[in-house]
């Protein structure tokens, strides 16, 4: 009898596994239509067939960064919307997004040279917790900085700075050749320090200019709530970085409100 039961259970085993796997995947689903926005999103990513052919023929496509290919669709949607507000033609390849687990707060960089490129760097937890306004402000910041950084005055400024670096190198070489390094070195170092300081000033100026540029795209209220949300997320909204104004400064300029310190916590006013 026992043996019979044993045989029976052994016979049922494969059936159980099949059942469990079938239950895990569930029955066939009926068609799941998607919204029109889904097609719009796909359309933005299509590109031309020539692009597709080129991609197919050149093997170096595999060298492209993975992060470029995996920008979440919600971020791509938001970027396309902002680009259309800014009257800029947007391509999905303009935007790259990378996740960094060790990062504390999100950052965005807009390129000043070559192809327009916006690089979004997000902490891992931000993907789930970030609100739409924060995302909009980050993307608009990247796009606006990329537009502002290419303005003639800023480009000329950078050319001028590049020539100063060239002069500093020349001074260094000449002082070495004519055995007067004590004169040449301090001059070269002073020139390099001034160049660094000027780059920092220019980057800050571009950042402030870009903030003003994105106000008409998103609306001042939307920008302010986005900046406030980013400041809430930040551990040190008053901290300045090289070439980057603090969030508190940006809020003060765009929204006319301040960030106050209360009980060791930063509380936003306004």
């Amino acid at each position: 009898m026992k043996e019979q039961n044993f045989d029976k259970s052994k016979q049922q085993e494969p059936l159980d596994l099949e059942k469990r796997l079938t239950a895990y995947y569930g029955p066939q689903l009926r068609e799941q239509p998607l919204s029109q926005a889904s097609w719009q999103n796909l359309r933005l990513r299509l590109g031309s067939q020539e692009d597709a052919e080129r991609r197919h023929h050149f093997s170096w496509r595999f060298l492209r960064k993975r992060s470029q290919a995996h920008v979440p669709t919600s971020i791509q949607d938001a970027f396309a919307r902002i680009a259309s507000e800014a009257h800029v033609s947007s391509m999905p390849s303009m935007l790259s997004c990378s996740l960094k687990p060790q990062l504390q707060e999100p950052a965005v960089h807009g390129s000043w040279f070559g192809r327009r490129k916006i690089r979004l760097i997000l902490p891992l937890n931000a993907v789930a917790t970030m609100g739409q306004t924060e995302l909009d402000v980050l993307l608009a910041t990247g796009l606006a900085r990329s537009i502002c950084g290419r303005k003639l005055t800023y480009t000329l400024g950078r050319l001028l700075l590049a020539s100063v670096v060239l002069i500093a190198s020349l001074v260094l070489i000449l002082s070495w050749m004519y055995h007067v390094p004590l004169v040449g070195f301090p001059i070269a170092i002073a020139l390099c320090i001034s160049v660094l300081w000027l780059i920092h000033t220019q980057a800050r100026s571009i950042a402030f200019h870009a903030d003003m540029l994105m106000v008409p795209w998103l609306g001042r209220g939307h920008v302010c709530s986005g900046l406030h949300a980013l400041a809430d997320r930040s551990r040190s909204p008053r901290r300045r970085r090289w070439g980057e104004p603090s969030l508190a400064e940006r809020i003060e300029r765009v929204c006319g409100t301040r960030v106050e310190v209360k009980d060791n916590e930063l509380t936003l006013v306004g």
Binding site: E13, P14, L17, R20, L21, T22, A23, Y24, Y25, G26, P27, Q28, L29, R30, E31, Q32, P33, L34, S38, W39, N41, L42, R43, R45, L46, S48, Q49, E50, A52, E53, R55, H56, P72, T73
Partner: protein, 187 residues
């Protein structure tokens, strides 16, 4: 219909986005249903569907004229879904109550009863998922195609580009391993 679709494919292969939109409208809902059944997550399924159509768009110039579009699209979708699911390690994500709700089944009157059923369902799914997570990627792929897409061994071989014999042996080994793992969990 077939001629019409052939024309749409021809136009889309030459870069006509409007023609491709028609193809999307005809096939995306079915593709989405397949992707959703495979990965159980609506947002991810949408991403997979869009990705598969994007790959199809890029591959259209090399589409074999006269052959049916949907099986070709589905092969792309299966491969893409398997890639995405492995990359995103969907097997390591906890099964949520929302994921367990089948979109086809409306909420009944007895909501408490349904809640208990769902919790039971989630627990069972969690067990299978944990076992699946311990398989190799190749074993997970054949299991997903066999049970999540209801493909025959020959179809799986075609999707994965390998001999039927390899698929059979992989399936058998995957089943054996799963049986062991699930038994261990029950103990």
């Amino acid at each position: 219909m077939a001629t019409c679709e052939a024309e749409l494919i021809e136009s889309a292969a030459h870069g006509d986005q409007e023609a491709f939109r028609h193809l999307w409208e005809t096939h995306h809902a079915a593709a989405m249903a397949v992707a959703l059944r495979l990965c159980h997550q609506r947002a991810l399924a949408e991403e997979i569907t869009q990705g598969a159509f994007l790959l199809a768009w890029r591959g259209l110039p090399r589409f074999q004229k006269g052959s049916p579009f949907r099986p070709w699209l589905m092969r792309i979708l299966f491969r893409h879904a398997l890639d995405v699911m492995e990359k995103q390690r969907t097997y390591l994500r906890p099964v949520s109550l929302d994921d367990a709700i089948e979109p086809d089944v409306p909420f009944g009157r007895d909501i408490h009863m349904r809640q208990a059923d769902l919790q039971e369902q989630v627990a069972q799914r969690e067990e299978v998922q944990q076992a699946l997570a311990q398989l190799s990627a190749e074993q997970r792929q054949v299991i997903a195609l066999r049970y999540g897409a209801d493909l025959t061994e020959a179809d799986i071989a075609q999707v994965l580009g390998m001999p039927v014999g390899t698929v059979k042996s992989r399936l058998n080994r995957a089943r054996e391993r799963l049986r062991e793992l699930l038994k261990e969990e029950e103990r």
